[in-house]
């Protein structure tokens, strides 16, 4: 790895200008920061709706399903992001079509998840050329993002964000109460499918940064922490974005100076923040609830 071959980097000088200069003199770090930031913004926004729609487990299944798509792409000599995108979009679209019926289908989702991972392991055995790819797909390798990958991810992220903006209010309405939204003429079924495709794009992009196994770190944990802190949708979305971008930046910087992968630090910061916020605010909310009843 880079860190072992370059002895000049020992630790931060704590002179921020000098440190940033040092970090960004490497193209792969610049790419990692841009990709990480783009993905974090998208994951923060989409994650808000994932938590609201209670699709955390479904999105986990979607990302694991992506493992089969990603390894399948490796077998076929195709781009990993493309393989992820195709596979997760198809599974996501189907899950969206099932809509509300997906809730409580833990066993069916878990079974699909296991089968996808098994399929992925089969593909890996078939393709002996890229054995090292497996670890990257599972845990992410943001430092390995190429400039062409970066453009690909950025284009899809921007498209996805435009999509969220276009359907923000009906999506929020149908996420909060599908029944009332349907009665008011909101196309609930269409939104359900569209959102799952959106989630598929987000998951595929996030895998580049944190891998299929650590997707929770960017997609769920910042949004869940934000929803514990504020009950105002626009504030919660903004906070989720700020948190996930902060995790990625801190993770990348710490990972730059320490010989451990950034995805570990990103996930660790996300988890610690979530636990702290939940612990602190559950006490407050509990007290508030107790007074009301």
């Amino acid at each position: 790895m880079f860190f072992q071959t370059n002895n000049r980097i020992i630790g931060p000088s704590w002179d921020l200008v000098a440190d940033f200069h040092q970090v960004f003199q490497y193209d792969f770090m610049t790419n990692a920061f841009i990709a990480g930031t783009v993905v974090a913004i998208l994951a923060g926004v989409v994650g808000y709706f994932v938590v609201l729609r209670r699709l955390a487990f479904a999105s986990e299944a979607l990302s694991h399903g992506g493992f089969a798509g990603a390894t399948g792409a490796v077998v076929l000599g195709q781009d990993v992001f493309l393989g992820l995108l195709v596979f997760t979009s198809i599974t996501g679209g189907f899950m969206g079509f099932l809509g509300d019926r997906i809730r409580g289908r833990d066993v069916a989702i878990g079974g699909t998840l296991a089968f996808s991972l098994a399929l992925g392991s089969l593909f890996l055995t078939i393709s002996t050329r890229f054995a090292g790819q497996a670890v990257n797909i599972l845990f992410g390798n943001v430092l390995a993002i190429s400039s062409s990958d970066l453009i690909f991810v950025a284009v899809f992220a921007v498209l996805a964000l435009v999509m969220v903006g276009a359907m923000y209010r009906p999506l929020l309405f149908s996420s909060v109460d599908a029944e009332i939204a349907d009665a008011r003429g909101v196309p609930v079924r269409f939104l359900s499918v569209a959102f799952m495709v959106l989630l598929a794009v987000t998951v595929s992009a996030s895998v580049q940064v944190v891998g299929v196994l650590l997707i929770f770190a960017l997609l769920i944990l910042p949004a869940a922490a934000a929803q514990h802190i504020t009950a105002q949708p626009s504030h919660a979305i903004a906070l989720a974005v700020v948190l996930s971008v902060a995790y990625v930046w801190i993770g990348l910087l710490v990972g730059f100076y320490l010989p451990y992968p950034p995805s570990f630090f990103i996930t660790a910061f996300a988890f610690i923040t979530f636990v702290a916020v939940r612990g602190l605010l559950t006490g407050v909310a509990g007290g508030r609830r107790a007074r009301r009843s």
Binding site: I180, G185, V186
Partner: protein
Amino acid sequence: MVLVSSRIDDPRVSPDHAADAAVVLDGVAVALGGRTIWQHANLSIAHGGLVGLIGPNGTGKTTLLRVLLGQVRPSAGTVIILGGSARRGNPRIGYVPQRKTLEEDLALRGFDLVLLGLVGHRWGFGRASADDRSRVVEALAAVGAESYADQPVGILSGGEQQRLLIAQALLTNPQLLLLDEPLASLDLRSQHEIVHLVDSLRRERNMAVLFVAHDLNPLLEVLDGLIYIMDGQPVAGTLDEVLQSDLLSQLYDTQVHLHQTTDGHRFVVGA
């Protein structure tokens, strides 16, 4: 004034008649998945009328609401609502669906929940306009929910949540309000408050209300009439017509008694 009527003799609905009733069903039948849920529905609900909808579980009460909302297309007959045909997304119909309570950790303030009733069907995003916000504040005031509009809805009591959902349904100034078991899982005081809130709202706004309920007692003081679904047919009647021990016993397939206190209050008791 007859606020609810059942016309078993099936007269043709004249345009005049349709114009002076909020809801007119003429020979309506509904089939779901090939099974007839109910049929021969001939009834009307007058403007400003408060009508209860009763019947055992699974007889098609919610289906009747869904027909009025345009979500279920009848297999026969004519539905006229507020002078037009039933269609999805009609802003002149307010709807509060059946539910237990909102999820406890739902991160949404009461204000945001109510606001969705006004802007939730519009595409795109954007800050609510001053006009929209003042309409939300008005609706919150109409149901007496101002004091907890800034709280996350999940931590509110069942009665408070019902008020918010009614406020949400009122935003478009509906002329017909459909409430699906709003009293379920409420304590006695909240039941009483919601019933009187709905009664005063429909009087102020001359808004017809169809109120699905299992327990009739909290409603008896304010109802103008009742619709019951028996043997696969929705039938409307006045309180005196429907509140008969033998009719209710037959409807619920269990012994039901009707008691009257010395000051004229009636109440229904299951054996």
